[in-house]
Amino acid sequence: MFYREAGQFKTSYKADQALFPILQDRIGIAAILLIAFVVIPAFANDFFLTSIMIPFLIFALAAIGLNVLTGYCGQLSLGTGAFMGVGAYAAYKLTSIFPDANVIVMVLVSGVFSAAIGAVFGLPSLRIKGLYLAVTTLAAQFFLEWCFIRIPWLYNYNSSGAIEVPRREMFGFIVTGAEALPITRYFVVLCITAGIAYLMANVLRGRIGRSWMMIRDMDIAAELMGVRPLQTKLMAFAVSSYICGVAGAMMVFFWLNAAEPSSYSIRLSFQILFMVILGGLGSLGGAFMGAAFIWILPVLLKFVPGALGIDIAAETVEHATFMIVGALIIFFLIVEPHGFARLWQIAKQKLRVWPFPY
């Protein structure tokens, strides 16, 4: 009823291959962009921007990165946290080596370093598959984490052992450092995330995206169709790590302001993996939905009782959060193993036939 593609005819392959071929989807995406670019900046307070929107967008980007690798190319990785760390440390080094360069360019360039590292740790994927590969990516996770601590050059020999973000300006706005306004940082993060998401949507609907999915769905058949497995997998590792690296760099530059190696620990890897799985493997929209769920739900659980005047001890809330998040993860996996993306499709289906059940 509300969501109907009947009557929308495509007259060219070009129109048929558009990202959002259906009118309602185009309206929907326009509405989301309007909310993101206009409504939220106009009405949100600092807490909403810094503690909800900025991390949500950064995590969504990281989830897109991991989704490229796991959701589209079928290579399970538990090293996301470390690849994000590579991006963060690379961006930090770049900004201190080139203090006058544009910080956003540096953040985008930093991804190149994590792409290279990611490709190196992707090499075993030619011989190792599935859960075995997942365990070998743990090698990347723990080894890189160790490097972040042990190579003082990476953190400019700071006595604190952490990386701290200096103040940088762009077009007269302070974009990084403590003085940067949440709204400025929000716009930077939003533009980068939305931009990369759009570019990835392009890659995923073309030849390269298809070759990743071929490897995922049936690697042997893909090879017999002329897809070079190593090249294709390494490219997925590199692209995925690039995106994760940019997300990691944004995490420290536009959100946390300072980071220790433990900020990029195995827990972060799991966090991102959850977002990808719950959002839906192989779905860009799912990455956003998964990030929203995994990041925002605990924040809500933590602060909403207080805001409503319900007095619960802080640690009880934390314990309850763990239990609820854990239980909901299992619940959603049982209900719909294909994640929120599939739930969304079901919802669309319902809207299409409404008010009839079928």
Binding site: Y132, W146, E315, F322, M323, P337
Partner: protein, 317 residues
């Protein structure tokens, strides 16, 4: 530099044989503990194809329950029995609430579900027993606590902790008990049948649900034993969960479905890690233990993707 890498470590081993033996012993004990955690993984993977990430937290949870009950005035042995009961309830609950609805899902979904279970157990365990680390009730359980020192020659000294010896003995007993269980009992045979082929097992009237509940319970028992041993070495706290990751490289070496593989893999990782850290770790500033095991496993995999005891994989289409 080359000398430091290729010669000096061996010179050291030769110069201080007592110390080398001590290193081997520590490696052995660590290996046994890794193997015990890996054993829990293997049991569940064999029977249900689930890669149970929650095994680490089950170790903590079991230890915490035991100590927590004791702190609340339950006598040690009764607490032990009650904890076994709790693990049985947990196994039944997991089978009923998590495994059964998720049957036939891809392995990554099952993996995620066990991580979800991990979150839940972390919250639940802390909620019930509090987050502060607890001391294992080693003595109350009648486990030995002292140590024996062997003095060799002038300066030679080897110290063996009694608890470590007990850990080794208990591990061996558990493995033997499991072997007997698998080979001699009806349920054990059913379990092996399930491991071979779910469909075929179903068709000859084996209840998968029952088998799953049993393996989760068995894994829970292994977790309890691990929790007691590791708790006695440091203490029972949620930081232990991370140590449990070490079981993963062990599994890679031993294969996901092989019980002897878990033991041998555990020992290789245990020895490799200690020897690597003590004789070569210093070259890069030490603390390499956090990743050495994974790198060993990774290199190993590149040469033998099927694991130590796995059969050569023939790809078919």
């Amino acid at each position: 530099m080359l000398y430091d890498i290729f010669i000096d470590p061996f010179v050291q081993m030769y110069d201080m044989p007592d110390f080398f033996l001590q290193v081997l012993w520590e490696g052995f004990v660590a290996g046994i503990l890794y193997a015990l955690i890996a054993l829990g993984f293997v049991l569940i993977f064999k029977a249900s194809g689930v890669f149970n990430f929650a095994q680490g937290i089950m170790v903590v949870f079991a230890g915490l329950t035991l100590v927590g009950l004791h702190e609340n005035g339950v006598p040690a042995y009764l607490a032990l029995i009650l904890t076994i009961g709790v693990m049985a309830v947990l196994a039944y609950g997991v089978e009923r609430i998590v495994m059964r609805p998720l049957v036939n899902q891809p392995e990554i979904i099952l993996l995620m579900a066990t991580i979800g279970l991990t979150y839940f157990l972390v919250g639940f365990g802390e909620f019930v027993f509090g987050g502060e680390p607890k001391q294992m009730i080693t003595e109350e359980l009648g486990l030995p606590t002292g140590s024996t020192a062997f003095e060799i020659g002038e300066r030679g000294l080897i110290i063996l902790q009694h608890i470590d010896i007990a850990a080794a003995v208990i591990a061996v007993v558990m493995v033997i008990a499991l072997a007997i269980f698998f080979n001699k009992t009806r349920i054990g045979r059913a379990l092996r049948a399930v491991a071979d082929d779910h469909q075929a097992a179903l068709s000859v009237g084996i209840s998968l649900n029952q088998i799953w509940a049993i393996v989760w319970f068995a894994a829970g028992l292994v977790a309890l034993a691990t929790g007691i041993m590791w708790g006695a070495r440091s203490d029972v706290s949620f930081a232990l969960e991370i140590v449990a990751f070490k079981a993963l490289p062990v599994l890679i070496l031993g294969g996901f479905t092989s019980i002897p593989g878990a033991i041998v893999g555990g020992l290789i990782i245990g020895f490799g890690e200690k020897i690597g850290e003590l004789y070569w770790g210093g070259l890069v500033g030490g603390g390499v233990e956090s990743w050495l095991a994974y790198i060993i496993a990774l290199i190993f995999l590149l040469f033998r993707p099927q694991g130590l005891f796995g059969e050569r994989i023939i790809e078919r289409i």
